[in-house]
């Protein structure tokens, strides 16, 4: 099964604990956005920042 990855920086929680340094979604924990589409992840990031 393909690993779940961050849709922006492709970090996978199975490989590392956090996003890569320049990821635009780095404010949100990696496990929260891994496996989502970019649109879903952006919506989640907006909720998280709010």
């Amino acid at each position: 099964m393909p690993p779940r990855q961050c849709p922006a920086c492709d970090a996978a929680p199975s490989e590392r604990a956090d996003h890569y340094a320049d990821c635009p979604l780095k404010d949100v924990p990696l496990a929260q956005v891994a496996g989502l589409t970019l649109e879903q992840a952006e919506a989640k990031a907006a909720r998280w920042r709010a």
Binding site: M1, P3, D10, S14, E15, P24, Q32, T37
Partner: protein
């Protein structure tokens, strides 16, 4: 948000999957077809020839579908250097074209992952059917003299049917737990 090229994680994950679909799946599918032939010709030497044939036929089917999906998915996986090989140096391209190529690669990568998921599901199902088929093949016939070792062998093979799905679902269970913890943190 400026986005970059997508990549597998770990980087050689796709190479490992390629070996799975081009080497392992054909071999295992072929082995199940061979076993199928043996069970068909010597039905009376097996305890449950009907279910054994079903499990082995399903193995062959799943392995062939896994192979087809795996190979179909491969056309959607390419890297930035592949793009440069076909389109020329990215540094000499307009920003718009560069952006379009990134968008294409991201869309293709998503398609690749979707097909890979299906191929992997078929491969795993094939392995489970092969374990079931092998286990049924190893079960001693009703008139066997000392069946204990045959039953032990059949049971050992059958443990795969439990262990494999558990091993595959554990990362997802862990992920759900992590998400629940993060949601809890989010709400407090």
């Amino acid at each position: 948000m400026r986005l970059s090229w997508r990549k597998p994680a770990p980087l050689n994950w796709s190479a490992a999957r390629e070996a799975q679909y081009t080497t392992a799946a054909p071999l295992l599918g072929g082995a199940s077809i061979t076993l199928l032939g043996i069970v068909i010709t010597d039905r009376d030497k097996f305890r449950w020839p009907g279910p054994t044939l079903l499990a082995l036929a399903l193995t062959a089917l799943f392995m062939v579908v896994a192979m087809v999906l795996g190979i179909l998915s491969r056309q959607y996986l390419y890297s930035r250097s592949d793009v440069e090989a076909w389109w020329g140096p990215l540094s000499e391209m307009s920003d718009d074209q560069h952006e379009e190529l990134i968008q294409d690669q991201r869309m293709h990568y998503s398609r690749y992952v979707r097909l890979e998921r299906k191929a992997d599901f078929c491969y795993l199902s094939g392995i489970l059917c092969l374990a079931a088929g092998s286990s049924l093949t190893l079960a001693p016939p009703a008139h066997a003299a000392a069946p204990a070792w045959r039953w032990f062998a059949a049971g050992t093979t059958a443990t795969l049917i439990v262990v494999l799905p558990l091993a595959r679902t554990m990362p997802y269970i862990r992920n759900v737990m992590r998400n629940l913890q993060a949601d809890h943190h989010d709400s407090t």
